[in-house]
């Protein structure tokens, strides 16, 4: 199928289900069934087996026709992490059962990976899953789970064999977040609000048919999920003067009284760094579309973290006396990160997380140095030791 035929298919969907007179969810179901949800997915699973680059053709045509979307921001973890993992490792039954509701937003997904004792060293995690007949019984604690309080399902890593070295004893599961053994508590951050959660798992029951990949194969499956996360963080398209520089530039233009030579220098540097990141992300997308993915994606996150932190600090400094104010320390539960509806102090504090979440900058530098530049790997004293025998 080429671009013309794809457009014809979009037109046919719109003719059969006019957005103006079709219920939102009915339209989304029809779009999924027509293979126009994610065109690079296989037929029968919301796609048409087309190149990923053609997705924007469908998106743009549907947007132009006023069709409803699936509110991707609300279901980002499902779309960006769970779906590609289910597609790559799921059984036919799992794909049929989960992908449609996930894409249409009928089920919100979250990700249960990090633990209090397993952050950068994710493979050292301690949540245990023990098989009892055809059911796994899970006990443990997860942390930094965004959307857990809204989620219906989760992708989860748990230890199924403590006698194996840490990477080899993990398995990957789909969890029903409505299980009575799942308790979600807000995790308050330095900003005052709680975007994330702690999730306590007590005798949570998971059918073996909700395991993704083989027993002991969890690390391999998780790596597929995490590489998708990094693509999602590093590969987005964005316009010029976007992100953290936007508010600073706006303040600079509106408030000549705030301008100093030193902040001018910092602003121009930040503007240039942001623009260069935009160009680099554009080139990365062009490479992906041409079928030659560039390895520089993992380096992009390093740059975004640094740019966000430098510019959000400037944002506070620039405002002088006003930089001393803070809008509110009230404990809130936002559904997504909102940098721009908030004041400079919030942005400054929240951006501190950018070099920690989704892989710390320190670990990412190791990843870049080892996997892209081919430098020697770190000594791993725990690599060949049974997990249960590791000091902790």
């Amino acid at each position: 199928m080429d671009e013309t035929e794809l457009r014809e298919r979009v037109d046919a969907l719109l003719a059969e289900h006019p957005p103006a007179s079709t219920q939102r969810m009915d339209f989304l179901h029809a779009r999924f069934d027509a293979g126009l949800a994610w065109v690079h997915f296989p037929e029968g699973l919301g796609g048409l087996g087309l190149p990923r680059s053609l997705q924007t053709v469908a998106e743009k045509a549907l947007y132009k026709a006023g069709a409803p979307d699936n509110d991707p921001r609300r279901i980002g973890i499902g779309l960006g992490m769970a779906a590609p993992t289910i597609l790559a490792f799921g059984t036919d039954e799992q794909k049929q059962r989960y992908l449609k509701k996930l894409w249409c937003g009928e089920e919100v997904w979250c990700q249960l990976f990090s633990e209090p004792g397993a952050g950068s060293d994710l493979a050292g995690l301690a949540t245990r899953a023990v098989l009892d007949g055809d059911t796994w019984i899970v006990n443990g604690q997860k942390v930094w789970t965004s959307s857990a309080h809204l989620a219906d399902r989760a992708i989860m890593l748990a230890r199924t064999d403590p006698d194996q070295p840490k990477h080899a004893g993990l398995s990957y599961f789909i969890v029903d977040m409505h299980d009575p053994g799942v308790e979600v508590r807000p995790l308050r951050q330095i900003t005052g609000e709680a975007e994330f959660n702690e999730v306590f798992l007590t005798d949570v029951r998971i059918l073996d048919s909700d395991r993704l990949g083989d027993v002991g194969e969890g690390w391999k499956v998780a790596n597929a999920t995490l590489s998708n996360e990094r693509v999602a963080i590093g590969g987005g398209a964005f316009p010029r003067e976007f992100g953290m520089v936007m508010n600073v530039a706006k303040a600079w233009r509106e408030r000549p009284d705030l301008r100093t030579p030193e902040t001018h220098e910092r602003l121009l540097r930040g503007w240039i760094d942001t623009e260069v990141a935009r160009i680099t992300a554009t080139r990365l997308r062009q490479k992906l579309a041409a079928g030659v993915p560039g390895p520089e994606g993992s380096a992009m996150k390093l740059s975004f973290a640094r740019i966000n932190q430098q510019l959000s600090a400037l944002d506070v400094d620039l405002r002088g006396d006003e930089g001393l104010r803070y809008e509110s320390w009230e404990m809130r539960r936002p559904t997504h990160v909102d940098f721009f509806g908030r004041d400079a102090g919030f942005r400054y504090l929240r951006a501190k997380g950018n070099s920690i979440e989704g892989g710390t900058s320190e670990v990412l530098r190791n990843v870049v140095a080892e996997r892209i530049l081919g430098l020697p790997t770190e000594h791993r004293v725990d690599k060949d030791v049974a997990w249960k025998d590791l000091p902790r």
């Binding site: 240039i272 680099t280 062009q286 870049v368 430098l375």
Partner: protein, 355 residues
């Protein structure tokens, strides 16, 4: 090309090399490996130039001097993208060549003016030309008494809005920080001058804009050489019974440098692509690349010196050639500060007013 309004939008251009650029890059690299090996470039600093002439002859064989000259005047009618590929390789080799000053800057000025008398000789490589402006200039301004790109057969002398072709000036080489880009003093007394155009200010600015934008590609070449050479060395060098590239302090520095060089590469390509199309966003793209790539090249070359340890401080190792080239390139055609100041005007982020 005139300076764009501040509202210029990003151009939708390909940032990937096409087959022509890739082939060109490969041929230029081959020529440079043969005609500009490290020892010959190094000898420039001791007063022996066995490289500029032979390298230029090889460039002539490849048709590079006429890359930006229209086909009707004997050139290749290529674009800034191809010139950028050549410059990146020149930066990688830190090789001396009048390509930037004659085949890019002077040629762009003359093409913009519709010249048909000087360009054919530049296209064939029989003659070279150099625009006489201060080495730091990014826009047409005071005439230089000290200039790069010399000696050249034709000097293009801006005076007010006019441009003259000068022949027979007295040119005295002076020792320069970067001997791969020779510096000279010019005495115009008794030289013969011919008016090229009475209204050349925009053409001169276009030449300098193109020069500054494509210099960014040369800076990327310098930076890539420094990064790759340093990584290769740190994979071999052993201390404390280990390959030193395994020390995390060094791995992290190289990871950061890698990110910086990749970004510089993208910024330089964007500048070349907008210049090739004459896009209204070119001045912004050039200011961005001019600031970012200059600093990336200096940073990469400085890291190369430090991470090579004592070896990096030796005359024998080529790291110093790249450090000197990077440092001089960061002054030539506008310092990073000058590019940022220009950008502030272009994107409506004005400097604070004094007082």
């Amino acid at each position: 090309m005139t300076l764009s309004p501040s509202s210029a939008a990003p151009a939708d251009v390909s940032l990937l090399p096409d087959d022509v650029e890739t082939d060109l890059r490969a041929s230029v690299r081959k020529v440079l490996e043969k005609r500009a090996p490290t020892d010959r470039v190094n000898a420039l600093y001791d007063g022996t130039d066995d490289v500029t002439g032979p390298l230029w002859s090889a460039f002539v064989e490849l048709g590079l001097p006429g890359l930006l000259v229209p086909e009707s005047l004997g050139g290749a009618g290529a674009s800034a993208r191809e010139a950028a590929a050549v410059l990146e390789e020149l930066g990688r080799a830190a090789a001396p060549s009048p390509f930037l000053t004659s085949s890019v800057i002077a040629t762009t000025v003359l093409v913009a003016l519709g010249d048909t008398t000087i360009l054919p000789a530049l296209a064939s490589g029989e003659q070279t030309a150099a625009l006489l402006v201060r080495p730091t200039a990014r826009q047409h301004g005071p005439t230089a008494l000290t200039a790069v790109g010399l000696p050249a057969d034709v000097l293009l002398l801006p005076e007010g809005d006019a441009l003259y072709a000068v022949r027979g000036a007295t040119v005295t080489p002076v020792s320069s920080l970067d001997m791969t880009r020779p510096l000279a003093e010019v005495d115009l007394d008794g030289a013969e001058r011919t008016l090229v155009s009475a209204d050349a200010a925009a053409a001169v600015d276009a030449g300098l804009l193109t020069g500054a934008g494509l210099l960014a590609s040369e800076q990327v070449g310098v930076a890539r050489w420094a990064l790759e050479t340093t990584i290769a060395y740190l994979k071999e060098r052993r201390q404390f019974g280990r390959v030193v590239g395994g020390f995390q302090a060094l791995k992290h520095r190289l990871a950061d440098l890698y990110a910086e060089v990749e970004q510089a590469d993208a910024a330089a390509r964007y500048a070349a692509a907008t210049l090739a199309l004459g896009d209204a966003d070119a001045p912004v793209a050039v200011a961005v690349a001019g600031s970012f790539c200059a600093e990336a090249a200096v940073h990469a070359a400085e890291e190369a010196i430090q991470l090579h340890g004592g070896l990096g401080m030796t005359w024998e190792h080529p790291a110093h050639l790249h450090l000197k080239r990077a440092k001089a390139d960061a002054i030539l055609l506008g310092s990073p500060e000058a590019h940022r100041a220009a950008l502030g005007v272009l994107v409506d982020l004005p400097a604070p007013t004094a007082g």
